[in-house]
Structure formats: structure tokens, C-alpha cells
């Protein structure tokens, strides 16, 4: 059991972690669903996953997921700046994940703007943004998997960190 009070798994933390995992899963599925792959590869044939082949449904759900992610990211960032800055610091994995998430949110915001009626961007810029968003997500998912496999946390308690150093 982790004796460090900052890293202890409280029910609240657990709920947040499961919620975060579900949200990333929703965003990843609805995001990859923007490509016409789920029907081609029979994944949309799996009972309960038919919506993955409905482009307007995945588009809507991706936006809905984005609302939740933006809210959660703002909460975590504000919480960190207000009350945890002195006790926690980002690990290299946390820094990488934060940077990738920031990039995904920025490119995603661009694509949302692009989708609004009346907004026009040069086609070349759109291609770069589309690809950056996709590559950013793939790197983020790989980094997340690395974090899970090697038990890398986003943050570390400052005193623990100092002791280890």
C-alpha cells in the first residue's frame, strides 16, 4: 500500500481515473471513427458498436467528449496551479502526456473552428492540422500505454522526488 497521502488511491481519485479512462476511450473510438475503417473491418458489426460506422453520430460524440475533456483539463490545471503546485510536480511521462494533450486540444480547437459555417482556411493548413491531430492522438495513446505498462504516474510528490534524487 502506498503510504504517501498524496498518492493514496481515494474513492474520489479512483472515480476520476475511471472516468478519465472512459472519456479517452470515447474520444479515441469516435475520433478514429472519423475514418471509414470500423465498417470495413467488421468492428461496427459487433453488437453495440454499430454507431461507430455512423459518421454524424461519431462526430457528435467526439464533440461531446471534447466538452468533457476541456472541462476536466481546465479543472486539473486550475487545481494544480491553485493547490498542488508546491506538493506535486510533473514526471517526464506527465510532461510528455501534458504536452501531447495540449497539442491535441489546440489542433482539435482549430478543426472545430474549421467546421463552423463561414470559416475558411487554406486546404494545405487543414491537411497539416488533420494529420497533426491524428499523429498527436496516436503518440498520446502510445505514451499512455507506456505509462500503464511501466506504472508511470503523471505526477510525483515533491518531497518523494527530492528524496529519490
Amino acid at each position: 500500500m502506498n503510504k504517501d497521502p498524496l498518492n493514496r488511491k481515494t474513492p474520489k481519485k479512483r472515480t476520476f481515473q475511471y472516468g478519465y479512462a472512459a472519456l479517452i476511450l470515447l474520444l479515441a473510438l469516435s475520433g478514429f471513427g472519423q475514418m471509414p475503417i470500423f465498417k470495413r473491418y467488421y468492428i461496427a458489426d459487433i453488437p453495440g458498436l454499430g454507431w461507430l460506422a455512423e459518421f454524424y453520430v461519431t462526430h457528435y460524440l467526439h464533440y461531446l467528449g471534447a466538452v468533457l475533456l476541456i472541462g476536466a483539463a481546465a479543472y486539473v490545471l486550475a487545481d494544480f496551479l491553485l493547490s498542488r503546485r508546491k506538493t506535486l510536480q510533473l514526471t517526464p511521462t506527465g510532461l510528455l502526456l501534458s504536452a501531447l494533450l495540449g497539442g491535441i486540444l489546440l489542433t482539435g480547437a482549430f478543426l472545430v473552428l474549421r467546421n463552423l459555417p463561414g470559416f475558411w482556411f487554406p486546404p494545405g493548413v487543414i491537411i497539416v492540422m488533420d494529420l497533426s491531430h491524428l499523429i498527436g492522438v496516436m503518440l498520446f495513446l502510445m505514451a499512455t500505454l507506456y505509462g500503464i505498462l511501466f506504472k508511470k504516474s503523471w505526477t510525483i510528490a515533491v518531497h518523494n522526488h527530492m528524496e529519490r534524487e
Binding site: 475514418m35 470495413r40 464533440y63 466538452v67 467546421n115 459555417p117 487554406p122
Partner: protein, 325 residues
């Protein structure tokens, strides 16, 4: 009454200006798409005689853009991925195909008690906010600053999503051509999607789209969208006609004016694969766009929730520590 801007006046004025914008290359700036820069076409159905001069002109002028597939086609996996091959049916002209981007639809109707067959050219509607462009997974479908929606055949992978999200299922696929052949031809992609690009290259050179130039009856008029909308309303008022395309899918740059209601036309035309309907269409992108307001509120809501938690924590710490202070 003959509507609006004459061809000559248009070539001299608006189109040349719009062409310059397109020809000047991609401006390195993001812009609110100026409605006045969007070119729209007005189609007066009562004038169309169904001669197919527009169909022929479209085929001739765009010949070089048509697919030239490599055969045999690569085997595709999984087997549910079907080959779509029109290369042996290039002459089909009674529906949309990768080789035929414009066709004539006809409808037997009754006007003033007399039976009449109305004909109308059908092609891409060039939506003002085109879902084919906005939802293309990586930007192969593009909208030009003058509102033309086109598919870049050099980078399209033929996934057909543009057709699936198009309310009229306009784009048509040809297997065995395009970038997918150089990537993972068996596993991803399936050719290239084709549709009317409203002769964007001719427009960039200050010329008219081929279908408009070739029409002996001057069925089509092209100009800045607000002017075309105004002309359409004027024509509809004068003739007691009906308008289609102004509000469909949030507004398109193809405005039809018909002497009979479009519900009647829609009932009478042949519909199906490659033969688009004339039903009213709600704005397809609108539902998701409604969530944008929530996206703008979300960061503030998140920050306020964190601040609230911090305030509560701060207050309880202060209260606990109060006797010692």
C-alpha cells in the same frame, strides 16, 4: 424574364475578380468565408429543354480529370470491400458516375392543367458549409475561397465518407486509381471520389464553368451568392415559382427555381444511386456545432470548480487553524 447578370457582364466583372482570388494561390491567412466571394449558380428549371449540351460540355472540358484506373485492381481485404469500376461504362450519362459529373433529371408534372415534362441539370450542390469537405478525414475534399467544393484526386483515398455524409450522396468512386495504390492498396482506401468541381480551374482563369457556357437556353446564371439569392427570389416572385438550395443543408451555392413545388418534382424524378433527390434537407453540421458553446464554457466551468474546491479547502484550513492564530 431573363434573370440577372448577363454572361458577358459576369465574365468582365465578378468572375474575373473571383478567378483572380482563386488563381492568386492559397492566402496564408485564415478568413471568415465572405459570402460575397462565394459564387453561386441560379438554375431556372422552366428554361431547361433537356438537350444535354451541359452534360456533353462537362464531359469534354473535364476529360483530363477523369480516372484512368490501373487493372487488375489490387485484391482487397476484407472481402466486404467492393470494387467500384465505371471504366467500362464511361458513356453512362443518365446518372452521376466518376466519369459523368452532371446529368439531366426529368419529371412529368402538371402545370395549369397541362401535362409537361420538366428537365433539370443535377450535379454537386456546392454547399456553403460542405460536410464532404468539413468531415473528410484528412483534407482531400477542399473548399476554395470562392465556395467551390472539390476533391483533390491526387490525395483522395476513396474511403467514400464524403458520399456517406453528403445529403445527396453526390461523390462517386472509381477503384484502381489514386494515392491508395502507393500506400496499402489491399488494406486501406479504395480509389478516388469524383464529382463536379464547377470547373474551378476555368473559373480561376476568369472563364465560365463549361455547363453554363454551353447552355443554349441560358438556364444557369452565376454570380456572388447574395446577388444570386436576390435574383432567385425575384424570379420566383415573378413566375410564382419555388426555390430549392437556398436553405438546404444550411444553404448551398446551387439555387434552383421551379414552376412547381419541389415536393412534386421529388416525387416524379427517378431517384437512387447516382440520382439525387430533391427533398428538403436540414443543416447536417448544425447538431454538433451546437456543442461549440459548451466547449467555450467548459474551461471556465472546470476552473471555477477547482477554485471552489480550493476556496472550501482554504476556508476549512483557516477555521481549523483559527484558535491557534
Amino acid at each position: 424574364m431573363v434573370p440577372s447578370i448577363s454572361r458577358r457582364a459576369f465574365i468582365k466583372g465578378g468572375l474575373a475578380a473571383a478567378g483572380t482570388v482563386a488563381a492568386s494561390g492559397v492566402p496564408a491567412r485564415a478568413a471568415r468565408l465572405d459570402e460575397r466571394r462565394q459564387l453561386a449558380t441560379l438554375l431556372d428549371i422552366s428554361k431547361c429543354v433537356g438537350c444535354e449540351a451541359c452534360v456533353e460540355a462537362c464531359r469534354e472540358v473535364n476529360e483530363e480529370k477523369k480516372p484512368n484506373p490501373r487493372k487488375p485492381f489490387p485484391a482487397m481485404y476484407p472481402p466486404r470491400v467492393k470494387v467500384e469500376d465505371w471504366s467500362d461504362k464511361k458513356d453512362v450519362s443518365d446518372r452521376l458516375t466518376p466519369y459523368n459529373w452532371l446529368f439531366i433529371q426529368s419529371a412529368a408534372v402538371e402545370i395549369d392543367g397541362k401535362e409537361k415534362t420538366l428537365t433539370l441539370p443535377r450535379r454537386c450542390m456546392h454547399c456553403a458549409n460542405p460536410p464532404c469537405v468539413k468531415l473528410c478525414p484528412w483534407g482531400a475534399a477542399q473548399q476554395l475561397e470562392n465556395g467551390i467544393a472539390r476533391i483533390d484526386a491526387d490525395i483522395c483515398l476513396g474511403g467514400s465518407k464524403c458520399k456517406a455524409v453528403c445529403p445527396w450522396s453526390i461523390p462517386q468512386r472509381q477503384t484502381g486509381t489514386g494515392l491508395y495504390l502507393d500506400l496499402l492498396p489491399s488494406l486501406a482506401g479504395n480509389g478516388v471520389m469524383y464529382k463536379c468541381d464547377r470547373c474551378y480551374d476555368r473559373v480561376a482563369d476568369g472563364e465560365l464553368p463549361a455547363c453554363i457556357e454551353a447552355c443554349p437556353e441560358e438556364v444557369q446564371t452565376i454570380g456572388p451568392r447574395p446577388e444570386i439569392i436576390k435574383k432567385a427570389h425575384q424570379l420566383a416572385k415573378e413566375t410564382g415559382g419555388y426555390i430549392y438550395g437556398e436553405t438546404e443543408n444550411g444553404g448551398t451555392n446551387t439555387i434552383y427555381v421551379s414552376p412547381v413545388p419541389f415536393e412534386t418534382l421529388n416525387r416524379q424524378i427517378e431517384k437512387g444511386s447516382g440520382r439525387p433527390h430533391l427533398k428538403s434537407v436540414a443543416a447536417t453540421m448544425e447538431q454538433a456545432d451546437k456543442l461549440v458553446a459548451a466547449m467555450l464554457i467548459a474551461p471556465f466551468a472546470g476552473a471555477i470548480a477547482a477554485a471552489g474546491k480550493y476556496y472550501k479547502m482554504f476556508k476549512s484550513t483557516k477555521e481549523e487553524g483559527a484558535p491557534n492564530e
